[in-house]
């Protein structure tokens, strides 16, 4: 009985880590450590980017296994860190299995930072990124306001369960649309529109997905690595496509002239 509960709990822990953006090698390692701490034989874990499969022999020598599908993926680093701490504490016998279950449920229910603070953080990040790239204060302030508006649009759309690719395309369109509107209103020179746009797209570029993909491949999880890399490439294409469409319409059909 105890082993079956441990199996379910550790797969749940792995599910939470994977759904919050941990790389598959870490998830496999965590589940394996949790299961191996019981002293059970024949522990086997396979984690890919979309599913977790784990199995072990229970007290009577029967084979038990669990399959869990992971369909939604986001990024929440503090949840990953907390589950890491919980599994360490369990393996070193500081807390019991009941407490682990309790704490995992608490972690799952956690909300993350509020939307207002995230919007501000994204806007400030856009401002500073543009300044780092171009040293142009006017374009950086433009990027700040683009950051606020686009992050509000993205969080409103994400709440509606739209495809993440569609949201990325719309984000790209919105970034260049607002940048063009700012130029037309005279807030920015057309020459420095690139600095404002580059600073504002940075929060939406799949940097973590790319590094996770590389680390997955390095650890021998080729399937997850390739899937994540492909995801990163598609997100990049959607973003730059969205930016390019609006910018192209402005430059060629509305007489904006070439850069």
């Amino acid at each position: 009985m105890h082993l079956q509960r441990l199996l379910k709990t550790s797969v749940f822990a792995g599910y939470l880590m994977l759904a919050n953006g941990a790389e598959t090698a870490r998830v496999e390692d965590t589940i394996e450590r949790l299961l191996a701490s019981s002293g059970s034989k024949n522990v086997g874990v396979f984690v890919s980017i979309t599913a977790i499969i784990a199995g072990l022999d229970d007290e009577d020598g029967n084979a038990r296994s669990v399959i869990k599908r992971v369909s939604s993926r986001g990024y929440n680093l503090s949840k990953i860190a907390k589950i890491n701490d919980i599994s360490r504490a369990y393996v070193s016998k500081e807390i019991s299995l009941d407490e682990v279950e309790q704490k995992l449920n608490d972690v799952e229910a956690e909300k993350g930072y509020s939307m207002i603070s995230k919007t501000l953080a994204s806007a400030v990040a856009c401002l500073c990124f543009s300044y780092m790239i171009g040293q142009n204060a006017v374009a950086a302030v433009n990027a700040f306001f683009i950051g606020i508006i686009v992050s509000l649009i993205v969080s409103a759309l994400s709440a509606k369960n739209l495809s993440s690719y569609l949201v990325t395309i719309i984000a790209g369109c919105a970034i260049s649309f607002i940048a063009v509107v700012f130029v037309l209103l005279g807030f920015n020179q057309f020459d420095s529109i690139d600095i404002a746009i580059i600073g504002s797209i940075l929060p939406y570029l799949p940097g973590i997905a790319m590094t996770n993909a590389i680390r997955d491949v390095l650890c021998g999880n080729y399937i997850s690595g390739i899937c994540r890399g492909l995801e990163a490439i598609f997100v990049t294409l959607c973003l730059s496509g969205g930016v390019g469409v609006v910018l192209g319409i402005y430059m060629f059909y509305l007489g904006g002239g070439a850069l």
Partner: protein, 154 residues
């Protein structure tokens, strides 16, 4: 230069905040971003192409991440994000897109290969640092034990 480093600090902290990093780690992530951008700027003065600058910056900052993770008992991902984010080649990506719009095949292939090469350089430096022997990291983590995380999250 100082303003740029300050911008790097705020930008990196803001970005890891978006990723819901633990509050106690956000200033450290900011410093990792400053290190990465500072080294990039330093090497850029002698290497305007940026290949060596990206390589040096990502190598040093990813190494710091690898040592920080066992010291603070945190997953490496938290710091890796901060180390990589100032170096992501957004500018070349944008220029490639623009060159495709202008039907300028030369420029688009130039910026496209730059984007790919910079991503590749960052991956290679992650590869090099992650394959360093565990013993060295444990030794360094013991040496810098005073930065250990005091509070417990569970």
């Amino acid at each position: 230069m100082m303003i740029q480093l300050l911008a790097a600090f705020v930008a990196t902290s803001g970005f890891v905040f978006l990723m819901n990093a633990p509050l106690s780690e956000i200033p450290i992530c900011g410093l990792v971003g400053v290190l990465s951008w500072g080294i990039f700027l330093l090497i850029s003065t002698v290497d305007p192409d940026g290949f060596a600058a990206i390589f040096g910056a990502s190598l040093a900052s990813v190494f710091v991440c690898r040592v920080l993770a066992p010291i603070r008992r945190m997953p490496r991902t938290v710091y890796l994000v901060a180390a990589i984010i100032p170096l992501v080649p957004g500018m070349h990506l944008y220029n490639m897109m623009l060159a495709i719009l202008m039907d300028d095949t030369n420029a688009s292939s130039h910026h496209g290969t730059r984007t790919l090469i910079f991503t590749g350089i960052i991956s290679i430096s992650i590869l090099i640092v992650l394959s360093l022997p565990e013993k060295l990291i444990v030794f360094l983590a013991k040496t810098f034990k005073m930065f250990e995380r005091k509070e417990k999250s569970v």
